[in-house]
């Protein structure tokens, strides 16, 4: 701490230059915070995917439906303990900005397969008893201010009703939570039987099956057995692990992680060049001053440490400001982002990663000037 004044004074030597450099670092870390959070939100499904669950979809496209009757046949395959099903409903709640996933499903089967989703028994019973009943995740209910007993209107875009109407209505009978710390609770579920009876076409069809395994190690063997069961049928299947399915789903839009890493790589490469040049220039201007420090008894190593510390102080200060701004920005834009990428939030892991990156950046941009300062010959440098 006793050197802080000296380091700060060094940075404040050219206030405009330091401020501009700092702003570029702040901007880079705002981008880091926001883009990493968006990438994480895209990959959230992948991260929380169960290791003991398989997903069975149509062999050629996830938009093709499969017969509901497959469920019983899959249950008979050795190594399978439970099977549930789900279907993509699409649809719009009031405005197209209000995106959230909506699934007609068999609640009993689904909740048994996903023990992390917690729904109180009374609400579970109410869901089973009310054919037009629906259950929403806690985050979703909070987002729209829903409470139990509310009537939720959904405009269909894929599934019209058999009377031609696209106005589906549901009674909110339950709100579930997700006991997994990183998992979302933002889905909207309603009864498959009601959906199947009311929809205009594709009756007796479902979107995909979720299969629970007795042993995760048997995943490949069971997947092959399921696909073999339906080979050469009208609806051949493709069975993958839940993680691969989530990854494939996320990659429908593109490899978000790779795109974000590419953007951040370009930004930080530019920052290294920019800040590195600034630091090198700042040290060149201060050669006689560094020689004075050496004259007074600062060792080569301590001068190296001072220059590196100055560089790290600059990047760390910029990173902390940038990360703080990214937290505020994500908070401010969360409702707008919710429609595109639900669940965007900056994680402690990303904040810690940002601080680590700032330290590395500080060392990278300060190392060359620090080595120059360390190697200064006092007599020559005093004459400079």
């Amino acid at each position: 701490m006793k050197y802080f004044g000296l380091l700060w004074a060094g940075l404040m030597r050219k206030k405009v230059r330091t401020t501009l450099t700092l702003l570029s670092i702040v901007l880079a870390f705002v981008l880091f915070g926001v883009l990493r959070s968006v990438a994480d939100a895209f990959n959230a499904g992948v991260e929380i995917a169960g290791v003991d669950r398989l997903i069975v979809t149509d062999k050629y496209s996830i938009i093709n439906m499969m017969p509901f009757g497959y469920l019983g046949r899959i249950e008979q395959i050795p190594g399978v303990t439970r099977v549930a099903h789900s279907t993509w409903f699409g649809g719009t709640y009031i405005d197209s900005k209000n995106f959230f996933p909506k699934f007609p499903l068999d609640a009993q089967r689904y909740l048994d397969l996903y023990p992390e989703y917690v729904l109180p028994d009374a609400q579970r019973k109410a869901f089973a008893d009310n054919r037009q009943g629906a259950v929403a995740g806690r985050e979703l209910a909070d987002r729209f201010g829903w409470k139990i007993g509310d009537r939720i209107p959904i405009q269909a875009d894929i599934w019209p009703m058999k009377d031609g109407s696209i106005a589906w209505e549901f009674d909110l009978v339950g709100i579930y939570t997700n006991s997994s710390a990183s998992g979302p609770a933002n889905e909207f579920w309603f009864d498959y039987d009601y959906f199947d009876e009311a929809r205009a076409f594709a009756k007796g069809q479902v979107g995909w099956f979720i299969v629970q395994l007795a042993e995760p190690a048997q995943a490949e063997q069971v997947a092959k057995a399921i696909d073999a069961q339906f080979a050469n049928s009208d609806s051949e299947t493709k069975t993958s692990t839940e993680r691969d399915f989530a990854l494939m789903f996320a990659k429908q839009i593109g490899d978000i992680g790779l795109i974000m890493t590419g953007i951040l790589g370009a930004v930080f490469f530019t920052i290294i060049l920019l800040t590195g040049n600034t630091m090198a220039q700042a040290i060149r201007e201060r050669i006689p001053e560094l020689a004075v420090l050496k004259t007074l008894g600062f060792t080569n190593t301590s001068v190296l440490g001072l220059v590196l510390a100055e560089s790290v102080l600059l990047t760390l200060f910029g990173a902390l400001l940038g990360l703080a701004l990214s937290v505020l920005l994500i908070g401010a834009l969360s409702s707008a982002l919710q429609a595109v990428v639900p669940g965007v939030a900056i994680s402690w892991f990303n904040l810690a990663g940002g601080v680590g990156l700032a330290l590395l950046l500080g060392i990278a941009v300060g190392l060359f000037p620090a080595l120059t300062a360390m190697r200064l010959n006092i007599v020559d440098a005093l004459r400079a």
């Binding site: 006793k2 004259t295 007074l296």
Partner: protein
């Protein structure tokens, strides 16, 4: 000169510089003793090797050949970090152009050598206040170098040289950038430090009037001590 009274001894010291393929001998086989609590003026024409000799005595440079003994320790064979450590404990430097850090106040400039010690902040502050009092600059402690006159800046530099209680003060043309009156004030201050505080001072100067303040004067010419005049 009595061995016990000697602070610094130079024995057969030579210094060569390489300029391309050319070797230039600046100091040649020089022997010299500097007594404790003496005030020595080193004089000589430009290029005579005065500054080189000063740098060697102050541990800023090392001889090509020969030994420099400070209180029985051979500093010419010390590593760069040991020499830095030695300088921080034993030597104070005063330069012609003051060499203060422009971004720091007078107080913070004087504090610099103390950052290398284990003194607490309060103790450092107390030492700095004492040093600034000795050079009669307490009222300018919060000013930056560009807010001080040349004489005041040099007094800050003297306070910085004194603050860690160095026994040897190395002064390289300390009045070269000052008018006569200010120069005399600075030289008077150095003489007082020598007389009242027992500091050993080695001063390079071109100015014969400045040399008058010293107790001993040595003339250096072409790398050789050519004359010694007792005060």
């Amino acid at each position: 000169m009595n061995e016990q009274q000697t602070l610094v001894s130079l024995r057969r010291v030579s210094k060569e510089y390489s300029r391309g393929k050319l070797k230039v001998k600046v100091l040649d086989n020089l022997d010299m003793d500097i007594a404790k609590a003496s005030f020595l003026a080193l004089m000589g024409p430009s290029g005579s090797g005065k500054s080189t000799l000063l740098n060697l005595i102050g541990g800023l440079d090392q001889p090509t050949q020969g030994d420099i003994i400070f209180e029985g320790k051979n500093i010419s064979s010390m590593s760069s970090s040991a020499l830095a450590h030695w300088r921080s404990h034993h030597v104070g430097f005063i330069f012609q152009f003051y060499n203060l850090l422009p971004v720091l106040t007078a107080e913070r400039n004087v504090e610099l050598p103390l950052l290398l010690t284990r003194l607490s902040r309060a103790e450092r502050k107390r030492h700095v206040a004492t040093a600034l009092e000795v050079v009669a600059l307490s009222d300018r402690a919060g000013h930056r170098p560009n807010e001080l006159s040349g004489g005041e800046q040099q007094r800050v530099a003297i306070a910085r040289a004194l603050v860690s209680d160095a026994s040897l003060l190395i002064c390289d043309e300390p009045t070269g950038d000052l008018d006569r009156q200010t120069a005399d004030e600075i030289l008077g201050l150095l003489a007082r430090l020598h007389q009242d505080h027992g500091k050993t001072i080695v001063m390079v100067t071109h100015d014969p009037l400045a040399a008058e303040f010293a107790s001993d004067r040595l003339h250096l010419d072409k790398g050789t001590l050519s004359a010694e005049v007792a005060a």
